[in-house]
Symmetry: C2
Amino acid sequence: MDLVVWLYYHELDIRRTGVASPDRDIYFSSKGHDVPGLYAVLYSLGIVDESRFLKLRRYGGLDGHPDVGVAGIEANSGSLGMGISKAKGIAWAKRFLGRRGRVVVLLGDGELQEGQIYEGLQTAAHQNIKLTAIIDHNKVQSDKPVDEITRLGDLNAKLSAFGWKVARTDGHDFASISAAFRDVADHEGPSVIIADTIKGRGVSFMEHPEALRSNHGKYRWHAGAPDDASYTAAYAEIRERIDARLLTIGTGTIESHDALEDGSLVSTLAGDVALGEDGVAPRLTSVAEYTAQGYGDALIELADECPELVVLDGDLAIDCRVRRFEELLPARFIEDGISEQDMVSMAGGLARHGLIPVVNSFASFLTSRANEQIYNNATERTKIIYACHYAGLIPAGPGKSHQSIRDVSLLAALPNMIVIQPASSREARLALRWAVLESRDNCALRLVIGPSPRTIDTPATFKFELGRGYTVLEGSDHVLFAYGPVMLNEALLAAERLAARGISLRVVNCPWLNRTDVRWLDESIANVGKIFVVEDHAPIGALGDQLRRSLGRREIRVFGVEGFPACGNPAEALKVHGLDGASLAARIEEDVRT
Amino acid sequence: MDLVVWLYYHELDIRRTGVASPDRDIYFSSKGHDVPGLYAVLYSLGIVDESRFLKLRRYGGLDGHPDVGVAGIEANSGSLGMGISKAKGIAWAKRFLGRRGRVVVLLGDGELQEGQIYEGLQTAAHQNIKLTAIIDHNKVQSDKPVDEITRLGDLNAKLSAFGWKVARTDGHDFASISAAFRDVADHEGPSVIIADTIKGRGVSFMEHPEALRSNHGKYRWHAGAPDDASYTAAYAEIRERIDARLLTIGTGTIESHDALEDGSLVSTLAGDVALGEDGVAPRLTSVAEYTAQGYGDALIELADECPELVVLDGDLAIDCRVRRFEELLPARFIEDGISEQDMVSMAGGLARHGLIPVVNSFASFLTSRANEQIYNNATERTKIIYACHYAGLIPAGPGKSHQSIRDVSLLAALPNMIVIQPASSREARLALRWAVLESRDNCALRLVIGPSPRTIDTPATFKFELGRGYTVLEGSDHVLFAYGPVMLNEALLAAERLAARGISLRVVNCPWLNRTDVRWLDESIANVGKIFVVEDHAPIGALGDQLRRSLGRREIRVFGVEGFPACGNPAEALKVHGLDGASLAARIEEDVRT
């Protein structure tokens, strides 16, 4: 925050040029999760208006990660490591087009584990491109110190070795920051300012040295909103300090109004109850069942049965439900930091020598950033399990860098990769057991990260067999295929609505996204009229296409996430894409009545 | 070669343990294009047998890039940058399993432009993994000096800054190599030996200092086979030196036999005539028409019309037909080295500031390694053109790291990406003009790298309109859709065969792989029986799926590249996959007769 405030109020020319001039200075953050801080600065400058500012992570509000559709946002980010490269492109374009304006990009220190950073460091130096990177060097990643995840070593030496001019500053001291900028101002090529910062600066119990001390070395304030008590305490602390300062300079204390009163600011965390379409009734009720938890528990259970099983993580151990494995079986756990390509190729080496690696990251990062490495491993015909967390549209608050709606399409053409999405905690366990103990091929498990909106009851008789799912709700008129807890819930809501309208919809859970047992499929579609599929994915490249390949001349209508995934709370995002139960019911009814 | 000979004959224990022992030493090269040298060493040790050794890049012989299916090959490589990560996995597995054996991986110096290298450097140091990397530091990339593409700077300083133990050696001097290995032998963590080498060492006119001098600073011996005269001269030079040496130590001169006599070693370069299925008749006759040339020419033509157009290259300027653009318009050409992710994100920055970047690399690398960067750019709703060279199955000699049969599936789910494959030089020009001047969306142009087996005659009346192709050959019984010069040629060959069997096959060229004009499609399939598609791609995720999405209840049979793409000459690879004209004809006939 201190760096961004300094940039917008002192260092850069944006207040004069505005954010639309081709000659403006450019600032953006490569680690887009810090964008709420930037929004606050843009709001303070009148660039972002209040109504939008107060709708963080809501549809029509401000995206959870930066989007250039918001005034003042210069680059989309969210997945790490792209910042220097993008800044380099912007600076090159300015030079080529004869435009004025500086280019400044903020990086995280954990982000320096991404290889693309070093591509950018190297090419920017060679191409002698004038830009300034700032490293927000707070020494803490998502919940552990950088030095515990992957040490960066002597940063000055490293960055100098790449041919960049290096300056260093206290990232909270304006005089020091100013001096650092003066230091690099006249340098003709790329320069970097290492800003030593404190994560959580300004709130005593959130400042990382204290926060780590008080919580067994884990930092707990990286993501998510603080609970009410912490929020109140933090707010009081900050306000008191500001007021004390204002008194010394002779102005009154700050005024505030409570935006919460208008009811528009309900929390939209994944686990929370979201509003229904009428704005009142809870719809996606958390049942405290997490698909991914079944996966995490099964990993530990399998460790005994399968001594070859090892687990890799890319600094998302809690989100990926592997922290307990890490603690119980540290010798079989590899923390590889924010280096997805390295993690995947390392798994390739492990598998070649007889181990069964289970690789963990978010689906959007793992299947796209490391796609070529996954392919290369597959060509060696070993077996690796890719646990693709945070698959699908929901939660929709973080926005399109994190929502994963292309991952099935990115893997399905691999000849020896089986893509599976379990619909419940119990199914996740079955899926992982199958992948580890029975499958001869690579497996990708798509796992929803949030709580299941309802527990999908897997029949006690259901065996996890290649290409076979099961009927979740009997119905006689038409059939709707779905997978995963989010879309099965919507499918069931749609069926309930349609039943009231006299249409009997069969709902079938098909966890196998690129393998189909045609006999089972024939049974599933027996004696019904039309066939529908709802995807927790783009309409291209997932279950709908797979069923079309399997079915021949039966027409299939697919409802998928069209366009880029919307940012908002679950109900908003589902509705925007026409994938909530009510919309699905209406779309199906319209289809079958015409 | 000197390094590899030293490793297998002195440094490593492989001659004693064999290549199957779990305790063996491991060596592989991360830059897999050097594998012919390794094959020679493995042959000399009796690990690879002569009949296979003499079939380089032929089906059933030795792959153009390493494949673990060949005895003695420890890792698949070919796309650059994965070596340290894979070596790290192997070393970790050995430690975990209590197995003996060292791990040595060879890297190129150009390869040090790949970001994954730095992920591996950083994590290997943090994880304190004992392995040795050797950098074959010959200072030349595909045809230019590393210092001209992207300077590496002070390598010792850079590698030391990453926490690796660094040694340096003359890569052609065994005593010096031996000393370097002794130097790093006792180091507990990762170590790297920078081996200063001469590219083309041992043949006077191929050694890079001389080769660069004599060819205007360009190195011409990196890829492909030398012409007969150069081969003869090089062979004579090497043989003379060996014989002279043998005489001084008192043995006789070397004996050789001419393996060419048995006729099995016809050249299999892309541009050459390959043998037909009967082993005699030329089938894929080069017509000296290159689709990609139409693209390269059109780029220069468009530069005048579109001042915003800029071209980016990832060290493949000749292969991607952009060298002439580079020479004519250096201010609008960005050489970004072997840093695909950086190149793509840089293009994102350029596009955000009003330029139209045309990004060039091989389809297999560009669409998979930089997939997340392409997605990120797409979310900014700018327009970027991705020229995906070497798309499809042919040439099949380099093997599956280079053959690109997944690229359409990797892009098709992007909502604002149009994937197009032109079938001729003329169509490539039309496609690029459309992409630059008319399209509002991003475009990916799939371009075949080799010569067209026949020139597909684009009708003079054909307009390049979204989703519309044209009929290449009229036919009344059934229809076969194809795209690109390779598969259209096979489709036409199939139609010729089927005509002789009384089946009239319509052949339709559909260059639009993820957009379809349904009216045009309806016309194309009017009055025929069955619908077939032949893909220059896996059967999943390309034109077949697109037509199924568009067509509804008509059944479509798709012939695609099943499994991993075969290595061989064009005729072999097509036949192995059942995609040559004769096989297609047989498959279609069988289908329509049952």
